[in-house]
């Protein structure tokens, strides 16, 4: 990817506009878990953006699926996420408690749409200044990652 200075300037300018358009209040707890006001609302609201409209969760954790998801997570996600502290992106220990499963699935599978449209994600970008890349995970693997994240939520 080659960026000219001009492109960078344009990107910076666009980011500045974004700052004006979306007003975010954020609170970071000591563990790097970030909660934003729009996110709290989003947890209750129906999913607005992204291709995954509904995810069926089982009452108990599917251990096999979670194990598989852990493996995908290690290869694909650990470059930017840790469980209990902020890294390139947010800590993910309790992500399933603060985000809908559909939101998590769409962040993995339909990253570009979420970054472009979802207010919560726009706010996250202001904090982390790094767009989450689409890692070309397929839907099955993304579902396994979600199960893994559910599994670790209470295992600290």
């Amino acid at each position: 990817m080659t960026f000219s200075f001009k492109t960078r300037m344009t990107a910076t300018f666009a980011a500045a506009i974004l700052l004006i358009l979306v007003s975010c209040t954020k609170s970071d707890d000591k563990n790097g878990n970030t909660a934003e006001k729009p996110a709290e609302q989003a947890l209750k609201a129906k999913v607005q953006y992204g291709k995954i409209k509904e995810v069926q969760l089982t009452a108990t954790i599917d251990n096999d699926l979670a194990h598989k998801g852990g493996k995908v997570f290690d290869v694909t996600c650990t470059g930017c996420h840790k469980y209990d502290e902020r890294y390139v992106g947010p800590a993910l220990r309790e992500v399933t408690k603060r985000r809908q499963p559909e939101f998590i699935m769409n962040m993995i599978l339909d990253t570009e749409t979420m970054i472009e449209k979802d207010d919560t994600v726009k706010c996250l970008l202001q904090t982390y200044l790094q767009k989450m890349p689409n890692m070309q995970v397929d839907e099955k693997d993304a579902r396994a990652v979600l199960e893994h994240l559910r599994d670790i939520a209470d295992k600290k």
Partner: protein, 657 residues
């Protein structure tokens, strides 16, 4: 100030005079013509070209990929060359691609390109290119635009008539330009013994239908002439291959004069289906040879080399019907077969006519044994019997002919610096247009296949002179785009190219672009030093070798603090790009590296070998702008004096992450 004002007034008056003049109808017409040409090559920002054009990079050893009609340079593909931009030939994984039986040869002279074909039509799977100097053929995968295989050609010096292919890419061929003593005979001979000891060879390299993998099927042992260019038969002439030759005088000095004595040289017509029959009958003779085969494996992101030691040969004197010579005036270069396969055009550099042979007549002459004699046991056909017609007074120095699929041929003329359009049926000149300057080869999209797409012709000129802003004694190369959709050819555009483009291929973009790979899948990465996730990132010592299992993702390396390297160590940075998104390569550079940077595609692993020359702390960083925090993508490696007690570690001593 005063003089400036004066200049402005003068300038303004010139403009108003010019405005007045442009009111005349004749001038207006000319300006409409210019804007028409501009509109025809204008590809608006964000829009894409209609054709890919692949042009040999000549003595750069590379291929230039351009868009047509814009002439925009899209990519340079290193083939027989190292390319610091991409780390090609510098990374440990790609170095073997440049191995030959004579060692590491990181340069060559690429001349001719051939797109793979299915049923005589370019299919956009692979492109083949020859290495002229250290004879090789390379295959480039058009999913990745990377060289994936090279095959060295034995008994060949100057692999010129190559890598022309058959209609279903059954074979790509090689032929020696400089005859030489065969490797399997005594090679230490006096040059004066040329006529006795120097021989030629046509090599048929089999291409696997599915994988594209090459292996030398057989070599035909030919008389010691200079073999120049070739093309496969197609349609009617399917199963045949045609090669031009010059220096049938067999001169070994001052060829300029001594190889221009005879009025006619030859086109060798080879029946390769017959060769297959002879091989099946066991007529092939195994001889000793030594040639290198290099293959790049996409799953390990690594190339390996293998030396091969045997070769199957066929002797035409013992295989009747395998090869015939067709007399061709004079020192012919191009050997071009029209889309129907009926006409074979010889481009006699010193000839005053363009001879057009008829496949039907050639077959008739063979059946009737209408021969004027034989050479080294190879029958020589009667010139007139094989001929369809001659294009008379076409121009000076005909070289190469392409076809538009509408019954027209276009021949380049080096000496008279022009392209001449003529009719295949009647051999009559239809149009001629100048080139700037001294055109070598031509390309029409699909112009040497069964199905030319026509529309454009690109002339690749040998001389540039005043066409562009001067850049010192060395100038860019000059290509010119012509509209050939009408009766008359029309010059649309000049655009510069790299190296010296000898030959090119062009193909509609949709046959290539939709297959283009966006990223290598991490889960398919079987590199022995892959780092699948940051958890695996680490450093390991094996004696004095230090292996760094490093990951790269926007925007950090892991590990990014390395200590315990000592003077005398050899450090291998095995960098895995964890990205899986399109257009997110990461670069890797470390101070003092004597090779080049790495440029690692998403999902790929590449290795930089680094032998520190100074102790101290050395910076390393990402060289390819990857994100807003690209400038933060950096790290340090500490090199301690030899014998130091510092333990090898990665991100130890409290350095975060």
């Amino acid at each position: 100030m005063k003089s400036k004002l004066f200049a402005v007034i003068i300038g303004a008056s010139i403009v108003s005079i010019a405005l007045f003049i442009t009111a005349c109808p004749s001038t207006k017409q000319a300006s409409v013509g210019d804007s028409d040409a501009a509109a025809k090559v204008y590809v608006a920002p964000g829009k894409q070209d209609e054709f890919y054009a692949f042009m040999s990079g000549g003595f750069s050893g590379q291929i230039g990929v351009y868009g047509l009609p814009s002439g925009r340079l899209l990519r340079v593909i290193p083939v027989f060359s190292q390319d610091p931009e991409k780390g090609w030939g510098y990374s440990e994984e790609t170095k073997p691609m440049l191995n030959t039986s004579g060692g590491f040869v990181p340069w060559d002279d690429t001349h001719h390109l051939q797109l793979s074909q299915t049923d005589g039509v370019p299919d956009g799977r692979w492109i083949f290119v020859n290495g002229n100097n250290t004879p090789r053929i390379a295959r480039i995968d058009l999913r990745t635009f990377r060289t994936v295989e090279t095959m060295e050609i034995p008994n060949t010096a100057g692999n010129h008539a190559s890598p022309f292919i058959t209609s279903n890419t059954e074979y790509t061929v090689a032929a020696t330009r400089f005859s030489e003593p065969y490797q399997f005979e005594n090679t230490d001979v006096a040059i004066a013994d040329f006529k006795d000891k120097f021989k030629g060879a046509f090599t048929f390299v089999k291409v696997d239908k599915t994988s594209g993998s090459m292996n030398i099927a057989f070599q035909i042992l030919m008389p010691g002439f200079n073999y120049d260019l070739s093309h496969a038969g197609k349609g009617k002439s399917e199963g045949w291959f045609f090669f031009t030759c010059y220096n049938s005088e067999q001169a070994n000095t001052m060829l300029e004069v001594n190889a221009s004595q005879k009025d006619k040289d030859y086109i060798a017509a080879v029946n390769w289906k017959k060769a297959e029959e002879y091989l099946a009958q066991g007529k092939g003779r195994d001889v000793k040879a030594s040639y290198m085969h290099n293959v790049y494996d996409e799953s390990t992101h690594s190339a390996h080399s293998e030396i091969l030691n045997t070769l199957k040969t066929l002797n035409p004197a013992e295989c009747p019907g395998l090869v015939y010579f067709i007399p061709t005036p004079k020192s012919p270069h191009g050997c071009d077969v029209d889309p129907s396969g009926e006409f074979i055009v010889g481009g006699g550099k010193l000839s005053t006519v363009i001879p057009v042979f008829s496949y039907t007549n050639i077959q008739k002459a063979i059946a009737e044994k209408n021969f004027e004699g034989d050479l080294y046991g190879i029958p020589v056909l009667n010139y007139k019997a094989a001929l369809h017609g001659e294009v008379e007074k076409p121009g000076l120095g005909p070289l190469h002919t392409e076809f538009d699929g509408k019954g027209n041929a276009y021949t380049s003329f080096f000496v008279s610096s022009e392209v001449v359009k003529w009719g295949l049926a009647d051999c009559k000149v239809i149009d001629r247009t100048p080139t700037y300057y001294s055109v070598g080869h031509l390309v029409i999209p699909g112009g040497d296949s069964k199905k030319p797409w026509g529309k454009y012709l690109v002339a690749m000129n040998k001389i540039t002179k005043d066409r562009y802003l001067p850049t010192g004694p060395e100038l860019s190369q000059s290509a010119q785009l012509y509209d050939i959709s009408g009766e008359k050819m029309k010059l649309l555009l000049d655009f510069p190219t790299i190296g010296e483009p000898h030959y090119a291929q062009a193909i509609p973009a949709e046959l290539v672009k939709d297959k283009s790979l966006k990223a290598f899948k991490l889960k398919d990465n079987h590199h022995p030093y892959v780092t699948l996730g940051e958890k695996e990132a680490r450093v390991e010592r094996k004696g004095n070798e230090v292996h760094v299992y490093m990951t790269a993702i926007r925007s950090h390396f892991k590990p990014d603090n390395i200590e315990g390297v000592k003077m005398g160590d050899v450090v291998y940075f095995h960098v895995t790009n964890l990205e899986q998104d399109w257009d997110v390569p990461h670069g890797f550079a470390v101070r003092g590296a004597e090779n080049a940077e790495l440029l690692i595609m998403p999902g790929e692993t590449s290795t930089l070998k680094w032998v520190p020359k100074k102790s101290g702390v050395h910076a390393m960083y990402c060289t390819d702008f990857c994100s807003a925090l690209h400038q933060e993508m950096q790290g340090y490696v500490r090199v301690s004096p030899a014998g130091s007690k510092v333990e090898l570690s990665a991100n130890a001593n409290g350095s975060k992450q």
